[in-house]
Symmetry: C2
Subunit: 322 residues, 2 copies
């Protein structure tokens, strides 16, 4: 699972930061979180193929999070896609997509299924063989959702134990792996738990959308074993008033939610244009936060400031900057 930051700015794009968008590559698919104007061009500078996108998650309907959708969908159509695409988003997203599809002339010959989420509680929105996705309602000036993508790991087979119990390689072994009990030729019944080890830790990323800090969101992430939190941090903490007024988070807010969530990495994004030429404010503040909170000074808790085109590899816990 690899995160690629396609746009890390806020309402107004800057020299260094495009509008919001994050791509996650996992198991041959691309999952797209928000799609600000210019997202399709940002992809050109990365190894994300727009043709591999099957699911797009829109946090909310502010322009800086959605105005790249028309161009992205039209380009995918232009390139001949026929496979369907799912778009998840808040109430009114169906109308928005309808309006987007009315603009200009295009050749979109694939099905777009829009899933309008209207839930005041966390909600599982995808449950496939290999992953799950949740939507979590957050607290912004208009309806907004955070999204969580969690890999599903199957239990591991303890082959040695299975052999000792007399299971032969073949259909019986496969059946146990799939969670079914089997009856051996000697009449002995073997249960899956006899031969399965617990699954390895699964990778799990949360993307906050635009939001004020919500402690319960941190608790929820902790409960499902989230390891990486991409949280908006529109403002430095000296601008807490602006953050409250515009219903956004500060650096400190975002870090706190990450700590409550017990993730190993918090990545700050959606950074206001005012910091474009003085992003050191973010680094200095992070240094102070770590200095003043002993519990944050821990090799198992990293705070990263997102940059456009930066990649984060969850397997190796490695950041690659361009």
């Amino acid at each position: 699972m690899k995160i690629i930051f396609l746009g890390t700015g806020a309402a107004i794009p800057t020299k260094h930061r495009n509008h919001s968008s994050v791509g996650i590559k996992y198991d041959g698919e691309v999952f797209l979180f928000d799609c600000g104007e210019g997202t399709q061009r940002q992809m050109i500078y990365t190894d994300i193929s727009p043709m591999k996108i099957n699911n797009i998650f829109i946090s909310h309907l502010h322009g800086d999070h959605i105005l790249g959708l028309a161009g992205l969908l039209q380009s995918i159509g232009f390139n001949g896609r026929t496979e369907p695409i799912n778009i998840y988003g808040p109430p009114e997203i169906k109308n928005t997509i309808e309006n987007i599809l009315k603009i200009g002339y295009h050749s979109i010959n694939f099905k777009i299924t829009v899933h309008e989420i209207n839930s005041k509680k966390p909600m599982k929105i995808i449950d496939s063989e290999k992953y799950m996705a949740y939507a979590y309602p957050v607290n912004h000036s208009i309806p907004c959702y955070a999204y969580i993508l969690k890999e599903k790991k199957k239990p591991q087979l303890n082959l040695k134990k299975a052999m000792e119990l007399g299971v032969e390689v073949g259909p019986d072994l496969k059946s146990l792996k799939d969670g079914n009990e089997v009856k051996l030729k000697n009449g002995k019944i073997i249960y899956p738990n006899d031969v399965l080890l617990p699954p390895k830790d699964s990778m799990c990323v949360a993307y906050s959308g635009d939001t004020m800090p919500i402690e319960d969101f941190g608790e929820f992430l902790n409960s499902i074993g989230c390891t990486v939190l991409i949280h908006e941090a529109t403002f430095g903490s000296s601008k807490k008033n602006n953050a409250v007024e515009t219903m956004h988070s500060t650096i400190e807010d975002a870090v706190n939610i990450g700590k409550i969530a017990c993730v190993d990495t918090v990545i700050l994004t959606h950074i206001s244009a005012r910091y474009d030429d003085n992003i050191e404010i973010y680094y200095n503040e992070i240094e102070n936060i770590i200095k003043n909170n002993n519990e944050y000074n821990d090799n198992n808790f990293k705070i990263i400031v997102a940059e456009d085109l930066m990649e984060y590899d969850l397997k190796n816990k490695e950041t690659i900057k361009k």
Copy 2:
């Protein structure tokens, strides 16, 4: 009058070329020709202020020419503009702008007047004190217009001649300058033509939109004294078949129209993504065209390949690349 190339690519953006858009700065205003996705961000790298745009000219309603409008208008609104904006374009542009304004939440508190052009002949669409603009119907797969912006120069006063004829500095002189005859104290009538020199050459730029080559368009530009032609040249001339099939122009097509128009400079733009890593094809072909056409080998006829963020200053006939 200064041209700034905001996007010089075609249907699909590339590493080096954004979607179509050209800005012209003149007399404190910005005139915008097409507005592909990402145009507002391209402006950040130039000295164009979106707040100075009063007139936007849309050639046609293909996505690569219009999908930046929503973001541009929303950002202008976000920055508090109250002055009206005019948008000119082909039939259906009113519906397009209506749909664009329905997307997302925004605070556009300025009036947008959409002028839907539906003319099969060249048409004067603006006639102000300082400039004129024309729309010229071109030949693409959907209705499409070229646009021409022409500066209006007043005739120059021949002060020496006026003095000799007995005109005194004051209201009489001003009246003559404004094109009125005056009666002097001695009863003699002085006509404007007696004291006015023809105006200096006015600057005039044409932007072709997407089109197959049209010789009549060249003749028209010649008739109004156009000096710079920005013409699409989507393909190298070896791809003439593709150009015909998709109703575009080749390098040779564009240069020929410029020659018919008797402009001093042709600037090629709307360059297909296939040339992103081998633009030398354009330079080689231009060299050959000049070699094979003696009449093109002339210091008064320049052929330029547009680049993103390139500027062309009409006063000094100077190209500035970034």
